[in-house]
C-alpha cells in the first residue's frame, strides 16, 4: 500500500464543501494562509521569517499581470464593451492570498480596458478522488490521499488559477 498517508495524517476533514459559499474570502485566507507561521505566501518570507515585509505580493502581481493580459484579450474580442467585473477561480493549493491578488489586480488593470473592474474571487477547495470511496474535500495542509480510508487518491481540484468569466456592460446603440 502507499505508505505515509495513514501515519502522517494530522488534520481532520473540513466541512468546506458544505460551507464554501458562506465562507468569506477573509475566512478563507485565514484558513489557508495563517500568517506568521510557515506561510505559503510568496516566500521571500521563507528566507527569514523575522524579516520585514519585502514585496511578498510579487507572486500575486505576476498572476495579476497575466490575468489582465488574458482578460483584456477576451474583452477586445467582445467589441465595444465595458468590463465591470472579472471572475476568477483560485485553488487553495495555488498559494494566492486573495487580498494581495486584489491589490495587484487593481495595479495591473490601471490604464487598461479593465480599469475599475471588480475582481470576484471564487476559492476552490482541494479535493481528491479515491478509487475506493469517492471524492472528498481536503483541509489545508492535509496529505494528498483519501481522508477516509487513507488510500492513494488523485488530486481533483485545488490548483486552479482560472479566468472564469467577464461581467460585461454593453454600450447599447445610439441612445443620445
Amino acid at each position: 500500500m502507499h505508505g505515509g498517508c495513514h501515519e502522517v495524517r494530522t488534520t481532520t476533514v473540513a466541512v468546506f464543501g458544505a460551507g464554501v459559499t458562506g465562507m468569506t474570502i477573509a475566512d478563507e485566507e485565514r484558513r489557508t494562509h495563517p500568517r506568521g507561521v510557515d506561510t505559503p505566501g510568496c516566500s521571500h518570507s521563507e528566507q527569514d521569517a523575522s524579516a520585514p515585509y519585502t514585496g511578498e505580493a510579487m507572486h500575486e502581481l505576476s498572476v495579476a499581470l497575466a490575468l489582465v493580459e488574458l482578460a483584456s484579450e477576451e474583452a477586445r474580442r467582445l467589441g465595444d464593451v465595458q468590463i465591470s467585473a472579472v471572475h476568477v477561480r483560485i485553488g487553495q493549493l495555488a498559494a494566492i492570498v486573495p487580498d494581495a491578488l486584489r491589490f495587484s489586480f487593481d495595479l495591473a488593470a490601471e490604464g487598461t480596458a479593465l480599469t475599475g473592474a471588480r475582481l470576484e474571487i471564487e476559492p476552490v477547495p482541494t479535493s481528491v478522488a479515491c478509487q475506493a470511496c469517492g471524492t472528498h474535500v481536503l483541509d489545508a495542509f492535509q496529505p494528498i490521499c483519501c481522508p477516509r480510508c487513507g488510500g492513494p487518491a488523485d488530486l481533483r481540484s485545488g490548483r486552479e488559477l482560472e479566468l472564469r468569466a467577464l461581467e460585461v456592460i454593453d454600450h447599447d446603440g445610439p441612445d443620445c
Binding site: 510568496c42 516566500s43 521571500h44 507572486h59 490548483r159 482560472e162 456592460i169
Partner: protein, 225 residues
Amino acid sequence: MTARIVEVRQDILKKNDLLARALRSRFEEAGVFVVSLVSSPGAGKTTLLQRTLAALRSSLRVAAVVGDLQTDNDARRLAEAGVPIRQITTGTVCHLDANMLEQALEDWDLRALDVLFVENVGNLVCPASYDLGEALRVVLLSVTEGEDKPLKYPTIFGSADSAVLTKIDLADVVDFDRDAARQAIEAVRPGMDVLEVSSRSGVGLEAWINYLQAMRTHAFAVGTH
C-alpha cells in the same frame, strides 16, 4: 445599458503553459535533456549543481541556466565547473517562467548540449505554477528544513518528478527523521522517487548521477517511439 456574464474558463497562466509546451518540443527535437531544480533558499541547489556538472562534464555536454533574484554569485560559482552557464536575473519576481527561460536560451545551440540544468529561484511556492518545459523537475529538501516541509508545500512537491534530500551528512546532527520525511513526500506525491545526497561528503552523489543518466536514457527511449 445591460450587464451580462460572458464565460471564459481559461487558465490564467495559459500563455506560460503554451510557451512551455513549445520549449518542451524544442528540447526534444534538439535532443537535450532538461532538468530543473527547485527548493527553498539555502537548500543546496547550487552546490549540488556544481558537483553534478563536474561529475557529468567528462561524458556529456552539460550546461546550466541559473535564476537569481539579484546577484550573480551562483552563476559565478557554477562557472568554475568550466561549462556554459547563463544567468537569469529576475529582480523582484520570485520564480522563473517559460518566457524568461526562452529569452535566456536565445542564440544558444541546443543541439550542442546533452543535458541542460535550470536552477530556479529559491522558493517553494511560486515556481509550482510555472511549467518551464523541463523533462525532469527535481525538488530539493535539505535535512535542516524539517521532515514535514512537504506537507506544508504540497503543490511544489506535486509539480515535481523526483525529490532529493540534501545535506544528508547532517541528518544525525539535526535529528532528521528520514522515514518521516519519506512518508511526508509519499503523502503529497505518491510514488515519487526520493534520493539522499550530501554534496559535501559525496554520499549519494553517484546514485544521483546514475539516476539522472537513467532518466535521460528513459526520456529519449520514450521520445523516439
